[in-house]
Point group: D3
Chain length 283, copies 6
Amino acid sequence: MYITDEFVDRLIKEDVPYLDLTTHILDIGNCSGIMQFYSREQAVLCGTEEVLKVFKKLDVQVTHYLPSGTLLEPDSIFLEAEGSAENLHLAWKVSLNILENCSGIATRTRRMLILARTRNDSINLVATRKIFPGTKELAVKALLTGGGYPHRLGLSETVLVFKQHINFLGGLDNFITGLDLIKAKACEKKVIIETDNLPDALKLCAAGVDGIQFDKVPYKDLNEYVEKIKGINPTVVLLAAGGINESNVEDYAGTGVDAIVTTSVYFGKPVDMGVKILKTDLV
Amino acid sequence: MYITDEFVDRLIKEDVPYLDLTTHILDIGNCSGIMQFYSREQAVLCGTEEVLKVFKKLDVQVTHYLPSGTLLEPDSIFLEAEGSAENLHLAWKVSLNILENCSGIATRTRRMLILARTRNDSINLVATRKIFPGTKELAVKALLTGGGYPHRLGLSETVLVFKQHINFLGGLDNFITGLDLIKAKACEKKVIIETDNLPDALKLCAAGVDGIQFDKVPYKDLNEYVEKIKGINPTVVLLAAGGINESNVEDYAGTGVDAIVTTSVYFGKPVDMGVKILKTDLV
Amino acid sequence: MYITDEFVDRLIKEDVPYLDLTTHILDIGNCSGIMQFYSREQAVLCGTEEVLKVFKKLDVQVTHYLPSGTLLEPDSIFLEAEGSAENLHLAWKVSLNILENCSGIATRTRRMLILARTRNDSINLVATRKIFPGTKELAVKALLTGGGYPHRLGLSETVLVFKQHINFLGGLDNFITGLDLIKAKACEKKVIIETDNLPDALKLCAAGVDGIQFDKVPYKDLNEYVEKIKGINPTVVLLAAGGINESNVEDYAGTGVDAIVTTSVYFGKPVDMGVKILKTDLV
Amino acid sequence: MYITDEFVDRLIKEDVPYLDLTTHILDIGNCSGIMQFYSREQAVLCGTEEVLKVFKKLDVQVTHYLPSGTLLEPDSIFLEAEGSAENLHLAWKVSLNILENCSGIATRTRRMLILARTRNDSINLVATRKIFPGTKELAVKALLTGGGYPHRLGLSETVLVFKQHINFLGGLDNFITGLDLIKAKACEKKVIIETDNLPDALKLCAAGVDGIQFDKVPYKDLNEYVEKIKGINPTVVLLAAGGINESNVEDYAGTGVDAIVTTSVYFGKPVDMGVKILKTDLV
Amino acid sequence: MYITDEFVDRLIKEDVPYLDLTTHILDIGNCSGIMQFYSREQAVLCGTEEVLKVFKKLDVQVTHYLPSGTLLEPDSIFLEAEGSAENLHLAWKVSLNILENCSGIATRTRRMLILARTRNDSINLVATRKIFPGTKELAVKALLTGGGYPHRLGLSETVLVFKQHINFLGGLDNFITGLDLIKAKACEKKVIIETDNLPDALKLCAAGVDGIQFDKVPYKDLNEYVEKIKGINPTVVLLAAGGINESNVEDYAGTGVDAIVTTSVYFGKPVDMGVKILKTDLV
Amino acid sequence: MYITDEFVDRLIKEDVPYLDLTTHILDIGNCSGIMQFYSREQAVLCGTEEVLKVFKKLDVQVTHYLPSGTLLEPDSIFLEAEGSAENLHLAWKVSLNILENCSGIATRTRRMLILARTRNDSINLVATRKIFPGTKELAVKALLTGGGYPHRLGLSETVLVFKQHINFLGGLDNFITGLDLIKAKACEKKVIIETDNLPDALKLCAAGVDGIQFDKVPYKDLNEYVEKIKGINPTVVLLAAGGINESNVEDYAGTGVDAIVTTSVYFGKPVDMGVKILKTDLV
């Protein structure tokens, strides 16, 4: 993952357009200090690489850090840095926001993946495009850190047919009629289509689609669907989507699908982290 | 609220770097269609003005919309637009993501504000800087739509003293000694300081600070603190912060503070909305 | 395809950072004029939609245009617009550069595709990532206009294994050993690998890769390779890459591969187009 | 030449919006490797300074490089760097694209200049504004590297009168009438005008223009034109433009013009270069 | 104060879009040189931190510099750097422009502040939003360097009521009626209102505004206004604005207002500075 | 002159990052209003075209405006627009800042040009690169509006030799020795060199430079220098630079130079303009 200077600068400026007025008015900006980050709860750390870029831009010198992916225990310091009081205060909250939010996604992803793999140890967890607009780079980073994959990075690189597309074709049968041509055009891609019922799924598999995404099918029904389809064609990719979260992921993972498609990892509380800033001679 | 062309373009490109490959391969891009947005749950709508900018850039013509701030009932269409199938698919998900996320914040804000005002009808709800990095403009818009205010837009425009600042001054007494000068320098601003205990708060009020932010003080204690301070100086602004959310906002609102400081409105599930896209001649 | 305001502005500013000094010094800027674009050769037109955005930004009013994809005959006007002499001169060359270059790629793509389809009417033409840096959006637009597809939009969305990857795995056999896991991780994607010889290709197909990209294999050899592989597994995708251009595309198309991978459409002469700018009362 | 961080980042992101999915799925990203660039043909190298900026951003350490302007012999390594497999793969293709394309322009420029100077050893080669939109910075760098100059950087800094301007003045005689005033206004610039015939050129020179650009005049005719004009006024600058390329540049250089104006250096095949990426312990 | 890479790059590119043509044509770019900056007049230096970022981007090595805020004596060198002749020429003028303009603002600010403090040693000098568009970051930096503060960073963070707002409320009395609610909504801010007369000011103070900004009130009248208001309520903030500059700031400072609001520091001559560039072996 | 959307947005955001908090808190944003701009002094208007872009972005409808270049009389309204109170307040100050600053430059330019032309009616006024960084586009627009020209847009497009260049050549004689080659390389440009004495100027003219820029030569001396040089070579361009402003421009214009080079037009007080904002039903 590479993030641009412009991106890092944008995040900094979002929080600090000009100065830390408080530090300036207190006239403490030139003091030397140390800043320490720790988590108040167990978490999968994510975002230290990005925070290091924030620090570098703000002349804050890192003295200790753990990489994204580290499993954090409560209260142990995973990131420590030195700099002027002015720069530490400039860096503080944007860094914390990156870490808490990215670690939140990474932690939920890993937790959900672990749950899923209790039932199917090669199952994948893939996350949808339904991010908070403006957060895709950090969201993708956190998702990968947690062990998941992007379901689609965007509209331009995959063939995923929704009923919103089918409506323009005049129905599923027209899609099936044209499928060979579609597959030829998209020969380097898998052609995947979303449905919510078994008859359509069977018809589509027979016609040769590469994958089926089941939307909001109860997991008990899905058990049956997967068994029937894999019995006929074990290579077709089967995905379960729609309302899957930590509370039901095991059940869905047990259906035999190849991957769970979820949005739930993107939302929820950030990891609760704390920051200490101390004057150097007090350390 | 004004959002820039660059911002709107960035959100579009985040989801659609080039084309909707699926629409292109299905060869349906030039069909005419209609797109309808509805909510599956009650919500405070937010983001239609921003989505109208997305639509305009993508040559999608709006035919009906409700403004941010509207209270949505389930299943009624609040936004409808026409365009080519290509453009509708380009606009679909980024628009939905804006609407679901902004409406989520606006809804949580209004809900929390209503709860708070059951106990204090002039109390304010102000939200911290702890956003998901990259979302500040949408977050501020949603917060205002829900009836809240930004606690601080960033570091540059308010004087809010944390213990992380006090550490560099060598302790609270030094801050108090310098307070007159600080107030003179910041004469157009209120000088607000965070503390978690009554003795410090009383000392600070006696010294002349304009406001106290109480961090993580249990509401029962806070009741007493507020009563004592307001008894001495009714004009000092008192804020309650730290772990306040829908579950306890009423209790905190009942303490007599002027405003509740919260992060909780920013996080949680987006509003569940749906989108129909239909071929025009089928409508 | 959506291009951003920033992108259009960047192209304009690249050619006109401030003013047309010549027009300014001649003091003709406020005259009304008409501008007409025509091709001096047969071509597949591409870029008018983007040029319309240039015109709009420069207050030039389009009075006639043909869409991207139109087959142009020499000397017929495909784009006509009105505006002040100042604005017409600002718009002239950047518009011409877009049209000539995009049409060049679209024309070469369509020509090459037609040649390929004389031998295999469902074959695809896909173009590599080897663009002139800075031109990807226009290049993709032109490629699609000509009937081709991007082979890969970038590194982030496909699994294409080169020997540069294999080197880090310690050889092909290690890749094959891990293939089931790789396929599980990438279950929504086709796993494609590049090779230049039949034995490796056969081994890889037996192991279950979704596709083989043959690099710089003479077409006569490729005939044999394709026949053998498709005989064993007709669903594996076969691609021919490396030095394929208009002079040999028919031969490669005749081998039975599913798609031709090429860079050659991106390079070559722009289409030769002319622009007339006339004072309105002279038209 | 200075290129901005934003520009370098844009080129990187164009090729790698998020990650190298292949490297990630193969789980080889943390291996150490070495990357070597070589040319498969003789060429004037261009773009290493820019690639070094790519490397720096991607934490790739350069261990050897030759500067832009170096004459490359086939197969010798001109650029070598070390880094993690992840970063090497992120850097690979964008770097190669910069190098191949810039070196292509530089090589064609130098080749054409050498040809021109066989006939006139002080002649200049200047390249038009007809670039592929989005490539001006790299194109100018490559042009300078090859020994050429920009004819015009854009519209804002030179006075070059085309018939498209004259049309608004109501004809060449009106231009001549106003020439003294034009020259006074543009006193720091040369006033150059394009024509395709001798009578107009003579009239313009007599009137005092600083330069004539001959458009698409056959070189045999141009011989005569130049001789006549230089006989009358040796200080007027004479330029030959329109369809000049490697095949006829010597003939045009022999006419006695001061500079050749060409677009042909911008287009053509990139230099064919190769990249090896090896695991460090295998080197 | 943090300035972004994009900002620094924008300033560089504004002056040097591609190359220093003169240096290139003279073929001196690779010589080593030294560049020295000095002031021709006494001044408060401002902008060296920003110029160091310019230097870093252009590979110019700083060998000596004084920080912003230093009082410069004429002709002593405050900044010295080494680099290639090409890079020194690229850096020269943009650096000089930053230094001369920022130091001009800082110098005028400090001069005006010193004058004001001869009459009131705790008075503040705050500068309006009336900058030259595009210069806010440098203007704020220079203002702070000189000892002033921004009156408002922009519209989004302060409550400052002008008659242009009051017009929409239907008059001042309506504002006063609603003031308690306004103050509750803005409880973390001071509510300040502009007026030009004493009766309104008294009415507003009685109603509870936090501050009054007097616009274009002659200082003799203002003496009286301040005395009356402070006599009634010593905590209300009083500001003097409108036409205050070096010539009359002492008089206004003597009125007893808490701060002087001015635009005049932003405009005026830049500090006159000189730059020497020498070939290294001549130093 | 074309300004980009990004540029207009940047100026808006500089003043209004999110909202007008005052308008929001007063709850007047949805009222309809009218906004009128007038000048309090005679001035050359500049910037209305740019302000119209601001208005368009903020949904403010222009109902009357005068173009850049208009001579304004005091107190007459030159720009009037309608919109919501929210949008009018967002647009107010950034628009005023553009107009006051640009009109200031345009007015000073025209005033100085008129003074110069009392002595030489074909003399040019050209302004240096010494702008406030970040203002070049507006500065160039204003300069052109006032009747001046940019001396140089930047470093990349002119050949202007300073002693800072000569130092690297080892002295003026080396420059003269190489001048024929320099002129050949720069054949489309005038080669201009700065000096401050007659002997060097004469030597340079004899050697064939196209122009001399005299730096800080007293106008009485310059009279003599110009006479001597023009007597020898009437076509060489002569420029007077260094400390020329409204107080001495007539004297310098009387010397016979072709153009006056100045920085003084860029600095000075903005034009004093006023803005009325009224509720629509009160108009």
